[in-house]
Symmetry: C2
Subunit: 414 residues, 2 copies
Amino acid sequence: MLQSELLAKVSKEAPKDEKSVNAQFLTRAGFIYKEMAGAYTYLPLGFRVLRKIENIIREEMENIGGKEILMTIFQPKSLWEETGRWSGGVGDIMYKCDDEGEIGLGPTHEEMLTDIVRHYVSSYRDLPQYIFQIQTKFRKELRAKSGLLRGREFSMKDLYSFHATKEDFLKYYKRAAAAYVKVFKRCGLSSLMTEASGGDFTKDFTHEFQVLAPGGEDTVIYCPKGHFSRNKEIAGDLRGGQKCPQCTETLKEAKSIEVGNIFPLGEKYSEAMKAYFVDKDGQRKPIIMGCYGIGPSRTMGAIVEIHHDERGIIWPKEVAPFRVHLIQIGKEKRVAKAAKDLYRSLQKQNIEVLYDDREDKTPGEKFAEADLIGIPWRAVISEKTIKKNSVELKERSKKSLRLVKINQAAKYVK
Amino acid sequence: MLQSELLAKVSKEAPKDEKSVNAQFLTRAGFIYKEMAGAYTYLPLGFRVLRKIENIIREEMENIGGKEILMTIFQPKSLWEETGRWSGGVGDIMYKCDDEGEIGLGPTHEEMLTDIVRHYVSSYRDLPQYIFQIQTKFRKELRAKSGLLRGREFSMKDLYSFHATKEDFLKYYKRAAAAYVKVFKRCGLSSLMTEASGGDFTKDFTHEFQVLAPGGEDTVIYCPKGHFSRNKEIAGDLRGGQKCPQCTETLKEAKSIEVGNIFPLGEKYSEAMKAYFVDKDGQRKPIIMGCYGIGPSRTMGAIVEIHHDERGIIWPKEVAPFRVHLIQIGKEKRVAKAAKDLYRSLQKQNIEVLYDDREDKTPGEKFAEADLIGIPWRAVISEKTIKKNSVELKERSKKSLRLVKINQAAKYVK
């Protein structure tokens, strides 16, 4: 993509109405545009990152058998009345609009999918089912002040599983947990599978995936060796400094961001909504359910909270909007031609490039913008480098520069 | 994908509350599930089709320079008050929900994008801009009775272009029109670029892309040679049977479905919202705008309205949920192994296959379901075919069967 054609421009000043690191950097660098508290437009750069995160999640959900669907945002009141959640609990944070009767905007989709499943599933032969969607969700949030970390309109991947037996559910729950760790790892996040309360969803123990970050709203008490992690909300007397319940390590306590969660739902929704199946033994039984959520937009915010320095964002490779930020210094024809040739050559090799072809910016401005935007590789073409038939490469996360032959550049940045 | 794992089951009976051909077939075949009037969930098969249509549109929009973003569904009242559209006109079909103040659900995004553009664009050097999104939109529809053709919640691609001069706009308008014809052609639809009124958007002439279909809500008067088409709403005294204004052909009149539209917006929104730029001559001028819409969900409905027979849907190849429907007849181990081997082999060659591995269905049931679902190629493996080391291939759109060697199957269906 040509930077001269990018709609959004980089801004030197931090937006006054944003306090979180993620909203400040993402706004300044032209990834997002605030429409109202907790609702952001994803500009071309931001959309690319969001889409990459969603695709990582999609791949890993498909790897554990997930089938993708797309439910409606509009929620019929009648379904939510079956579970008693239209008002009270999650119903209270559900936006409602009027038409003929009332319509809710989906904050979560247990009711809707349970209704679909009871329509199609009748026998143990129809189970298990693993169904997910990636969709915009809505929740009334009084404290929508953390940029992408807490939205009123936000992107959500919700997977639901349906089982004939508790054993089958537990096996899948573990598979899903492992897939979650993998998703976050690919996004450059080291996640802690953390014990948490079930909130409105369940009375069982549930699990959150927390990533340590000073900007987080949660606090976890965790074993640095990864043997234990519990949300402080349910930690009781447990504190950092005490011994890990699983090993000899000393527990730590730190701020964190919840990027995902998995819930054993048991028979709560299937009982309430009469989602039964006939088992091998001829008995009618309620389906056993689990649900598994990841917020792609919140994950994007978490990545920025963790991967940045004072100059800007440092995108992990798999979620970066581009692999290479090619910067042309100088307007000379020879320089422009060398830069354009490299641009095309990298694209032909399927390497995504943002090409800073602008002629009205100083080298200093271009470098500062590149640092703010945070693309993994910076490649500079100037009068000086082309004399040596070379390009100057630098990783955003490192300080060292290296001059390499232009025709070798692709090898380095791959 | 294994058909035994598909959540949705095929139903022999037409849904009682659906009158349109598209909703009947898509529901019976397990592509969609009705949540309420004008709001459908896309089940695994339907989601695949919707995604393919969206990707065709995405590719063609990128081919004409479109940059993808994602705006919010939530619309701030203040923006719509700038253009006077919060109430009256399109404002009257906008769903509104309450929070702190009022929030609308986007029925279209001129206001929001014009606001973004006026924030970033200040000079003729920043123009032109071509920005699009693919997103869920909402409109109050009293007559949401045509399945995917008229939704209250529906998928929409909206592209907006921003120009310094009218000439530049007109050039792009033609490029966009050509891209639209290409999109619909790839979707198996032959579209007529049709003169239409501007409705709420503009007082200029606009263009709709209409496809002829008995189930359509519109009527067009058109030249069979493709030289002229006008929506009957603005046709005045013009009728089928009269001479084409462009050639010697006789005009026809027929029912049709509007699958896309393009609008010259001129300076309407930029004037109202003060989206100005400084031109080469130093003058401040309002940006000249165009907008270009396609409904992927409506396109999906239109495809079914046009491509079906009495037995079911006949998907055009590029939008079919799978390329091949592999049907195993009989439970014998040899047969199952041959079918499974072919399934894996086709998948390895990146050919998408739905494999009917179910053992509780008769051949007749399987064939009837395959015809209803409408995948382009049917491949049958049975005791009889494997004796000849062969598979029986049939195109959904044709009657002839042919027996080909199993290792040659991929060649035929590619």
